[in-house]
């Protein structure tokens, strides 16, 4: 479970460029729920994800992941609770390390790291099995450097990396945005499979309204640092991409005093 209460994030406080990135956002995501997040540029999507990941510490509010209050914890110290796939395929792994070294790194996420050899026979076998499930033929290239893989292959491996160690939440940050359409679909199907099989509490930020409605149980739209739409269940099933686009237009055109109209 994730709970975010009255989060305020202000960038560049006291400077002419001061920006309220999140404005009193509250949100609860139940255990095992898959939430998609949309919004235009600067709406606060990435900031919200950053608040959960620990990259951004809020100036006000509370963040709870699982049963742990992580409001003041940095990225590294809450890594045991948070698994993550980045937008940039280069960001989520180490290009100069081999595929299996990246996997070994991820397998100890949030745990202490001692002097045990990172690539013992048992671990190698485990990694091979997990990578073979991707059906990309990468199980025979585990010793290859990560930067030899294509963007899509890296994202697929990143998804495996995210699930090697346990976590309370999986954060997906537009993880298919940098891929070609075919590979994007492959990675989304894989995401769906992994999230369903492992019953992961998941938050996926996306630019694609299609994705936002097709995947998951609940969709949230952010605008100007506030949640302007939060749909789940039957009302979400009938929602079309056109409806979302219309909503987007209306929000952009209007000030937010009448956001009550938009919700529901």
């Amino acid at each position: 479970m994730i709970s975010v209460k009255n989060i305020n994030v202000v960038f560049g406080k006291g400077t002419p460029l001061q920006k309220q990135a999140l404005n009193g956002v509250s949100l609860t995501i139940e255990q095992g729920s898959f939430v998609t997040v949309i919004g235009s540029n600067g709406a606060g999507k990435s900031t919200l994800l950053g608040v959960l990941a620990g990259d951004v510490l809020p100036s006000e509010g509370e963040v709870t992941i699982g049963h742990t209050d992580v409001t003041r914890k940095g990225t590294a110290s809450r890594a045991g609770l948070v698994a993550r796939v980045f937008q940039d395929p280069l960001a989520g792994s180490c290009g100069t390390l081999s595929i299996e070294e990246n996997l070994a790194l991820a397998a100890r996420r949030g745990e202490s790291r001692g002097l045990t050899p990172a690539l013992g026979a048992k671990r190698r076998e485990h990694f091979r099995e997990r990578i073979a499930e991707l059906n990309l033929g990468l199980e025979n290239r585990l010793g290859d450097r990560m930067d030899l893989l294509s963007g899509g292959q890296r994202q697929a491996v990143s998804l495996v990396m995210a699930t090697l160690a346990g976590s309370e939440v999986l954060l997906l940050d537009e993880h298919t945005a940098a891929l070609d359409p075919g590979m994007a679909e492959f990675v989304m199907n894989l995401t769906q499979k992994i999230v369903t099989e492992r019953k992961l509490t998941t938050m996926m930020v996306t630019h694609s309204m299609r994705q936002a409605l097709d995947y998951g149980h609940r969709t949230i739209m952010l605008h100007g640092g506030e949640i302007v739409l939060d749909v789940a269940g039957d009302s979400r099933k009938t929602l079309q991409v056109e409806d979302l686009i219309a909503m987007f237009r209306r929000i952009r055109g209007q000030t937010l005093d009448d956001d009550a109209l938009l919700i529901g």
Binding site: A91, G92, T96, A106, E111, R113, G114, L115
Partner: protein
């Protein structure tokens, strides 16, 4: 080149192999351009020399030198991590400060170790000539150090350090405390360099405050020569490359200086070093262009 000159070059190359491995850890593993080594090398020499003269066991003296080197590395890491000073500048500050520290440690610019007991003393007079004993002894220590660093870098802890240098953001997302890795890496790197300094003092019989000048270039030269020869093919090969690069560098220098034809003299050393490193840096690029 005489046999004595040749083995002398090998010995010096092996002593500086510790510097090369230390520089490899900082520059390549942590991606931290660290000039502290110009100070921590003579620091290791100074601490060892002073302690040996005070009657301390030479092995213990070398161990203390390593601790001193580690402390120097931690200071640089502190300036960078805690006080956000640019890594290169942080290391220059420590390096400059160490010059004074080294003078304080020795109380004078130069300490001689003539007739003092060193780590090597028990091995002289066992039948092998001195100019063989020294490179053999240092070579064994290098081997031990390389194996330890190799095993470390291929462990879970070492992987965390490599990730810190390769992609710090990803490392943090995996729960790696990247600041701690920088402290640890800089400590190990400079401890190795200081141990090189300790060996330098014991094999050459003196510690000199100016002996650190250019240490970083020599270390980097070794790393780059190694990479040029072996390419990037795993940690063990890279470490072996550092050691071999260091030895080859010394032999090349020795050759350049001992060939009368070229008309070079000892004072041309720094120029020759710069030229060698430049060649080693440019060669791979030229080769790539040739292949394309």
């Amino acid at each position: 080149m005489s046999q004595i000159a040749f083995w002398g070059a090998v010995e010096l190359g092996l002593v500086y192999a510790f510097v090369a491995v230390g520089v490899f850890l900082a520059f390549r593993v942590l991606d931290f351009p660290d000039l502290t080594v110009d100070g921590s090398f003579p620091l290791g020499a100074a601490v060892t020399a002073v302690l040996i003269i005070a009657g301390v066991n030479p092995w213990l003296a070398a161990a203390v030198a390593m601790v001193a080197g580690a402390a120097a590395g931690i200071v640089t890491a502190l300036l960078n991590v805690r006080f956000r000073i640019l890594n290169l500048l942080a290391s220059i500050l420590t390096m400059i400060a160490l010059f004074s520290v080294n003078l304080r440690v020795m109380g004078k610019p130069n300490v001689a170790l003539i007739n003092a007991d060193t780590m090597l003393s028990p091995f002289y007079g066992l039948g092998l000539r001195d100019f063989y004993v020294r490179p053999l002894f240092v070579g064994i220590l290098v081997l031990v150090a390389v194996v330890i660093v190799w095993r470390f870098l291929e462990s879970d802890a070492g992987l965390a350090m490599r990730a810190t240098g390769a992609n710090a953001r990803m490392a943090r997302a995996q729960g790696v405390d990247t600041s701690r890795q920088i402290y640890l890496g800089m400590a190990i790197s400079n401890a190795l360099v200081a141990f090189g300094g300790a060996l330098f003092a014991q094999t050459n019989g003196f510690a000199d405050v100016t002996s650190g000048v250019g240490t970083i270039v020599v270390g980097l030269a070794a790393v780059i020569i190694g990479e040029t020869l072996f390419g990037a093919r795993g940690i063990l090969i890279a470490l072996a490359g550092c050691v071999l690069g260091s030895i080859l560098y010394r032999i090349a220098i020795q050759l350049a200086l001992s060939t009368d034809m070229l008309g070079l003299q000892a004072s041309d050393l720094n120029f020759v070093t710069a030229a060698l490193v430049t060649v080693a840096l440019v060669l791979p690029r030229l080769r790539r262009r040739g292949a394309a």
